[in-house]
Chain length 511, copies 2
């Protein structure tokens, strides 16, 4: 079976469009496999050639995406579809393709390829630099990537330079819309954190720390993924430095994770986080395969689903009761005598920390606030790349009240900037905001949700989310999808209310 959709109307241009988009998609999928392989399988000797291979596939895909043929084809398709409803497959295909085509027309192919080449090398340099906590050694790569991203921004002449960066992850969203949401979230979070600190209560998370052999963790991670609503024939789990997930097809999801010998939380929640993305990608309508619609609404929406499965499901009391027996079987000396309530408390301890990926769900948003501010200042040219390490230290004191001992625990901790992914960090907090709204709706739609989660019955929740969000792929813009789901604009209040309610109980805060 080929996933080729059948059109309601005879539309020869539309047929040809799906062929061209199929080719563009295949190039993108092949590139994704090269990137996945680079991070999980490739022997180090392959690195230099891989940078060239990635650059070539990126260039070929970009050439096709911005081609004159695609432009002409779109005009003909728009003629053929005159009158088709806006949310039909055909109209969505034409609309989203036109958006991508117009955007690609703005960016010279050589710049695209140069960014691919530079970031592939820069990522390798970052790995080394983080290992040795050597910001100075990484700086030339970082500076080069920032320079290229500035040239990229210039291609669009945006209102604010940051808008062009944001648009790659949150199509159509601007700094003006995002900044107040993140500011309100940071302020609300800081208030809650102050109350938590002032409460004098500290939750005991020592059960999560100890000596956990990697083999046992790997087995646990595979068993945890097997609990999730993913067909085992459509997913695999590999080890990497910085966890991610890549779809090679709707039915071929590549989840990656890493293992921390002295902390079991990574093998548990990080793998569920990445699998949460995979549950979303695995739920796209099959007719979207090999088109530009076969994607999440935005990175924020993507993140909303990884967060929802990680935090709302897998740090919630009901499902932790289902996870506990697995932990106890794998590490009996550690979890054999623990009760579900103790695990729930351990899983939800709030404490300012240095590493974003290890942060609890309250302070996490402060890590994002810090990065978002630095990125905006960097692209407003109020901050130079060389100043980032020091600025990171200062901002960590301000937001989290902590001193950064070395750059591996500071500016070098995340892969994103080495990969040129500026404008990406806000999507994590936007994801939290969206997840809170969607969880609220799911609760209303599924009255037995807690019982289902406690029984490990996750399909009803997944199917609800598929129905509401997943199956539509990238048909709508993020603002449109937020409106569709919540009837209003992006709103941080449900998230703040959720955090206040949950941690208010855990920490015995006044209502």
């Amino acid at each position: 079976m080929r996933y080729k959709p059948t059109f309601v109307v005879a539309a020869p241009a539309l047929d040809r469009l799906t062929e061209v988009l199929g080719e563009i998609s295949d190039l993108g999928r092949a590139r994704a496999l090269l990137a996945w392989d680079e991070r999980t399988q490739m022997p180090p000797g392959g690195a230099e050639a891989r940078a060239e291979q990635l650059a070539t596939l990126t260039r070929l895909r970009h050439e096709r995406l911005r081609s004159d043929e695609l432009g002409r084809l779109l005009e003909r398709v728009e003629g053929e579809l005159d009158g088709a409803s806006r949310d039909s497959f055909e109209s969505s295909l034409a609309r989203v393709t036109r958006r991508e085509w117009e955007k690609a027309r703005c960016v010279p192919t050589e710049l695209r390829a140069e960014i691919a080449r530079a970031t592939s090398l820069s990522e390798r340099a970052w790995e080394d630099a983080r290992e040795r906590s050597d910001f100075a050694g990484f700086l030339p790569h970082l500076a080069r990537v920032v320079e290229l991203k500035r040239r990229y921004i210039e291609c669009f002449e945006p209102e604010h330079p940051y808008d062009a960066l944001l648009d790659d992850y949150e199509p159509g969203m601007t700094l003006v819309e995002v900044r107040p949401v993140l500011a309100r979230l940071a302020a609300g979070t800081r208030d809650l954190l102050s109350e938590i600190v002032a409460s004098g209560v500290d939750l005991d998370d020592t059960p999560l720390y100890g000596e956990f052999p990697v083999d046992g963790q790997r087995e646990l991670a595979h068993r945890v993924v097997a609990l999730l609503p993913l067909d085992p024939d459509e997913v695999r789990v590999d080890t990497t430095v910085h966890p991610f997930v890549t779809p090679i097809a709707i039915t071929d999801q590549r989840v990656t994770t890493r293992y921390d010998r002295s902390y079991i939380g990574t093998a548990l929640w990080s793998v569920i986080h990445e699998a949460g993305h995979a549950i979303y990608h695995n739920g796209y309508g099959r007719e979207l395969e090999r088109t530009l619609l076969c994607a999440s609404v935005s990175l924020g929406f993507d993140e909303s689903q990884s967060r929802l499965w990680e935090n709302w499901v897998a740090r919630g009391r009901p499902f932790l009761g289902r996870l506990l027996p697995l932990l106890a079987e794998q590490f009996p000396e550690r979890f054999g005598g623990l009760d579900a309530e103790a695990l729930y408390r351990a899983a939800n301890r709030v404490r300012p920390s240095l590493i974003r990926v290890e942060a609890d769900e309250v302070t996490y948003n402060l890590h994002i606030a810090l990065r978002f501010e630095l990125e905006v200042e960097l692209f407003e040219e109020r901050l130079a790349p060389a100043e980032l390490a020091e600025a990171w230290r200062a901002r960590t004191r301000e937001h989290l009240g902590l001193n950064v001992p070395d750059d591996a625990h500071g500016v070098l901790q995340d892969v994103h900037w080495s990969a040129g992914a500026f404008g990406y960090f806000p999507t994590y907090s936007l994801g939290n905001v969206i997840a809170a709204s969607m969880w609220k709706t799911a609760r209303e739609a599924l009255p037995d949700l807690d019982d289902q989660l406690a029984g490990g019955e996750l399909v009803p929740l997944r199917d609800h989310l598929r129905q509401r969000l997943y199956r539509h792929g990238a048909k709508l813009l993020p603002a449109e999808m937020v409106e569709e789901l919540t009837g209003g604009p992006l709103d941080p209040e449900p998230l703040l209310a959720h955090l206040r309610r949950k941690h208010g109980t855990l920490y015995g805060l006044a209502d």
Copy 2:
């Protein structure tokens, strides 16, 4: 560092040519990774999308290779290089690229696509048919593939139809050159086999059979590869159904193997065979990366190196002495008390058998003779596809003195014909012939070779082979390279002499 070569003369067309060839190469490498992943990593759910991805990359590469631009570029490059020496990088690049371009121009894209489609279906049908030993069920596919290959042959108007098939694997070689070599080899091999059978001696290979847990075999295979002259940063070993090796870059070699629970020979010699290919590919001059010169001289030369490392090195007495301790450590109950001489005899037992991939180094060439004769008769239209099963039985009696019990052990045993790979089988025997000549030269050049092999010191041999063969990639045609290495044409006598000498001693034959 990018592997871009520096040219002696200013040559703008040559610069552009290397760009175009870099792109063609990257598409080929990405396709190779998709294929490697499909066979070693991909979850089953990825299969349908993978077929599309492979087809797209194949089509894009072919379009580029036969493009008008490449033709114009070649004309300009040939002008720029007027007077450059024939074996220079630049001249070789232009010459080999012209050859590939002209060849690609001969074949209509539709025929190429039709062959790809038909062989894809045929391979799947073959898998089923072999399972059920059902030649009649496979016949329509086989007939279709033969018909398409006949149309393919017509694209080239060769002297003899088989020449066009051979040319895909042994560029420039013809039936007139190959036939007498294979005929002499078959006759000499049959004579030797008669003497071996008549000797009444049987070597004991029971130590190689038993119960070998796969985990232990995998560890053994990795330790064996670690002994070989390959940088561990430039190779990896994975498990698959039908072993192969794929270079993703000169310095990124993907070796694959399989494990037979009841026979240790696969984990040992099959992995060395595939690694032998990798040692060759890993030795191409770095300046050849991302050009059409970054390839073996031919399939025969490729096979010569896998055979040389598998049979001459790893079934030879000195290196078996180095392998024995590894076997004894991994499987002490089986190899703990065995001496090197007993292992040497077990590794070299000669016995006619039905399955080519399990054949010893003497009878192997008879398996090839059988296939070669049938292929020639098929394309001379003296044999119809429907007659192949019966002809196989008759020829097996004639060459190997064995009765074929069913077609799974006869005409259906190999994947090659289902995949349209007619003309491929001779390259296995040509590889043996070339390996014998190269081994003779290596012995002369390295007087301490046996001591080096016994000590596990394999770098001197590799460096000798690199110097003579590997570093040149595909600069020369096979006949030219044979002449360069041996001062004459392809000669089966050194191989026959080697087999006579080695097995004469093992089986106590008269001199």
